[in-house]
């Protein structure tokens, strides 16, 4: 029997996600049981307070390196930096959703607490050093995300997105559990330390099977080809604010989980999984980019573009050095700002009647709403990878780490893929600035919270692009102790 101590390190390591979860519960109970039913704005601010509490705890703990619960739950640079990504994207999602959901006729106050629960799950995933804890984190996040995808209950697209997401998500969960069972049977442990210790004496077939099952399961969550089929449908059907959270928060959590699992727990097996990830990374970025080329709907195009970005991230995981781990973490940081921003602009275009997210709806946007078009241009240029914006920095360091480790072909294919991607991102910019609008100007509403979130995303995209070194050094340093 293992005695698990419960001391300061344990309290500190669970503090950030617990505060967020408790904040979500309070906001939920308050929304349901308050004497006078609170408006959505108050519930939103209440939920922001929960996220802020998690953010304060995360910042207060920056710099600590502790293993807790017998080494199964990490409090280190990786989990803390990942927490920042999750909390910032959740907070921006809440601001963006404010007004957006009401205009569609959704008055569900539970939206805001659900985002907090999903965020708590992501934070657990970012810190998990045990397959069972990783599983619990994935489920806490996913169960909330399934409901969020279907939050627009009267819209057939939204409920269908929820259904698809749920069935495939639950299917993937079964594979994850079977993979955990394989490692448990082969090594007698589920913690990363225990697995590392048991790898040498474990039967090889069980290990290969276990790796394959985990790749399938996590591939579903991160939308990696060939497990990406659900992504465009779910991203397009869900309300845009939820899509933003799914394509940033959920994907980032999946990648932090993948990176930690494979670089740390399964590090000694790197010769096996590196080859798998090499192929999947190239496939994912190519398929994502090629399908994005032919989309006439910008939301769907961004869904395919997020698949392509999953490919770039996976390339970093395939390289597998601590430099690459740091590059992946930096990429997630940059990706969060630009993707949230791009989806935020789509939210701003939507009116109660129509989402207005086809490419034709963006024609002539620069004349009608120059600021919005300017912000969208910055996000799209950043997604393309134009210096000095954030997207360039993220991609640059992934390529740099690949070249550094001698993976020239991977680096070349990644750069070629970014060139394909430029085509469809630039098509949107051309439509906004050089084409004449079709149809009448829709009745746009002013949404101060959304505007604030877009401003924050723009500032983040520019600032991280100009001054990446602080974050990068922190991320690299964080991975230095993980990759052994």
């Amino acid at each position: 029997m293992i005695q698990v101590p419960f001391g300061t390190a344990e309290w500190q390591s669970i503090a950030p996600f617990s505060l967020v979860a408790i904040g979500g519960m309070i906001a939920l109970l308050w929304a349901v049981f308050a004497e006078e039913r609170p408006g959505t704005t108050s519930v939103m601010w209440m939920s922001q307070a929960g996220l802020a509490a998690g953010l304060v705890a995360t910042i207060a703990l920056l710099g600590s390196e502790k293993a807790s619960f017998g080494g199964t739950f990490a409090l280190d640079g990786v989990s803390l930096l990942a927490n920042l990504v999750f909390l910032l994207s959740a907070s921006m999602t809440l601001f963006m959703a404010q007004g957006h959901l009401e205009s569609m006729g959704v008055r569900a106050r539970e939206f805001y607490p659900l985002v907090l629960f999903a965020t708590a799950g992501m934070m657990i995933m970012g810190a998990a050093r045990d397959l069972v804890i990783l599983f619990l984190g994935i489920e806490v996040m996913s169960l909330a995300a399934y409901v969020l995808a279907g939050i627009h209950r009267r819209d057939p697209g939204s409920t269908e997105a929820a259904l698809k997401y749920f069935v495939l998500g639950a299917f993937a969960t079964c594979f994850l559990l079977y993979g955990i069972a394989a490692f448990y049977g082969a090594t007698g442990a589920t913690s990363y330390d225990g697995i590392r210790a048991g790898l040498a004496s474990a039967p090889r077939a069980a290990l290969i099977g276990g790796v394959a099952l985990l790749v399938v399961a996590l591939g579903f969550k991160a939308a990696i080809v060939p497990f990406q089929a659900w992504t465009p449908d779910v991203y397009q059907g869900a309300p845009t604010a939820v899509t933003a959270l799914m394509s940033v928060g959920v994907k980032a959590a999946a990648f932090v989980g993948i990176t930690r699992l494979f670089l740390d727990g399964l590090g000694p097996l790197h010769q096996d999984w590196q080859r798998i990830f090499w192929v999947l990374a190239v496939l994912t970025m190519t398929v994502g980019n090629v399908f994005a080329l032919v989309q006439g709907n910008v939301k769907r195009m961004l869904a395919y573009s997020s698949i392509a970005h999953a490919g770039y991230l996976l390339a970093g995981v395939a390289v597998g050095t601590s430099r690459a781990g740091g590059a992946v973490l930096l990429y997630l940081f940059t990706y969060a700002f630009m993707t949230l921003g791009a989806f935020g602009v789509l939210i701003a275009l939507g009116t109660g009647e129509k989402p207005n997210d086809d490419l034709d709806d963006l024609r002539g946007l620069a004349d009608r709403r120059p600021l919005l078009a300017g912000a969208m241009t910055i996000f799209l240029l950043s997604l393309t990878g134009i210096p000095p914006l954030a997207g360039f920095v993220g991609k640059f360091y992934v390529v740099e780490s690949a070249v550094n480790a001698g993976w020239f072909w991977l680096a070349i294919l990644l750069v070629l893929n970014s060139a394909i991607a430029a085509y469809y991102y630039l098509a949107v910019i051309v439509a906004m600035w050089m084409r004449d609008p079709i149809g009448d100007e829709p009745a746009w509403e002013s949404r101060p919270y959304l505007a604030a979130a877009l401003l924050a995303a723009t500032v983040g995209t520019v600032l991280v692009g100009l001054f990446p070194s602080g974050t990068l050094d922190f991320a690299r340093h964080a991975f230095a102790s993980i990759v052994r």
Binding site: M1, V132, F135, L136, E139, L143, Y146, V147, G150, R153, R154, P156, G157, T159, E160, A161, A162, L163, K164, F166, V167, A170, F171, T173, C174, L177, Y178, I180, A181, Y184, G185, G188, A189, T190, P232, D233, Q236, G237
Partner: protein, 101 residues
């Protein structure tokens, strides 16, 4: 009489495959949900058998987590299926598919 571990793992693999094939082939959403439950329980069989084989309690503890999550998943899944049914009046996955392609 003890049943050897190999038999248990074979049973688990067969159950898992039945569930997986059910998810992929059956069109009724409730049946799909049941197939997912079969897969989860196949995993539980494996965990309990391995737990006994390895003489460690971890596997049995994991089963409790899996059961809890399966219950939560069934609740959310049925709610989503109900929401879909309320709009479409059908549980056939083939008749959905507004978002194909």
């Amino acid at each position: 009489m003890t049943v050897p571990i190999g038999h248990w793992l074979a049973l688990s693999a067969v159950l898992f495959s039945i569930g997986a094939v059910g998810v992929l082939l059956r069109r009724n959403l409730i049946v799909v949900l049941m197939a997912i439950e079969i897969m989860l329980n196949a995993v539980n069989v494996a965990f309990v058998a391995l737990s006994r084989h390895l003489q460690s309690m971890d596997g049995q503890v994991i089963v409790f987590f899996v059961m809890t999550v399966a219950a939560a998943e069934a609740a959310v899944g049925l709610a989503i299926i109900l929401a879909v049914f309320a709009q479409r009046r059908t549980l056939n996955a083939d008749e959905l598919g507004r978002l194909r392609g």
